[in-house]
Symmetry: C2
Subunit: 125 residues, 2 copies
């Protein structure tokens, strides 16, 4: 098992997720040791949800799983980079392809991407 520096930041490391073909940055989430191991073992992006305080297999609710095509680590062993195949084409829980659908320009926020799904239909309460 490749060792990462989980101690540095209290057990959680940031994981950048990009589309393996387009290279678009889809999202950033956090992994603990268990999420890291599960990602490598299953090939499905697995994170640690800080808000829900538990392991989170991306897409387990929405069906929008992320199939891991390549795993990279940075020179300090404290950041992970996943290249994934995004099932359904949308990574963001708000319905966008990427969580980074907002551009900042001259002090303003501009949403310059289109929604791909309606979150209310996907995440039924």
């Amino acid at each position: 098992m490749v060792k990462l520096d989980f101690e540095k930041t209290g057990g959680l490391l940031p994981a950048i997720v990009i589309d393996h073909e387009s290279r678009e940055v889809l999202m950033l989430a956090y992994m603990n040791q268990a999420a890291w191991e599960n990602t490598l073992k299953t090939g499905k992006a697995t994170f640690y949800s800080r808000s829900r305080d538990k392991l989170w297999i991306k897409g387990e609710t929405s069906g929008h799983t992320q199939l891991v095509r390549e795993v990279r680590i940075d020179c300090d062993r404290d950041t992970i980079l996943l290249k994934v195949e995004q099932t359904g084409g949308a990574a963001c829980h708000k319905g966008y392809g990427s969580c980074f659908h907002t551009r900042v320009e001259n002090g303003s926020e501009i949403i310059d991407k289109e929604k791909l799904f309606n979150p209310e239909e996907v995440y039924q309460k």
Copy 2:
């Protein structure tokens, strides 16, 4: 000034840096409020160095500054994405174009990128 959720994680938010043309992920560093404001004001990527405990204008020692071409934020307002023009073509302090020069595959680590500069010549003690 566009407000970000700096409180969530004790004042520091992760900032992903990618090349504005190739879309290669170059590095991840952290920003506090002052780094965020300085980045927007100057157009040069500015971070907060956790190891040196101070503001860090990327490239101030190496000359490898990052000229910001686009700033994006994520849906939770707790991650920043910078699209930059990387002066000198190398973002990593170890001499590589990207800090993510290491691929993880079947439990092994494979460096599959070439060094672009010799760190010992650039960071003279």
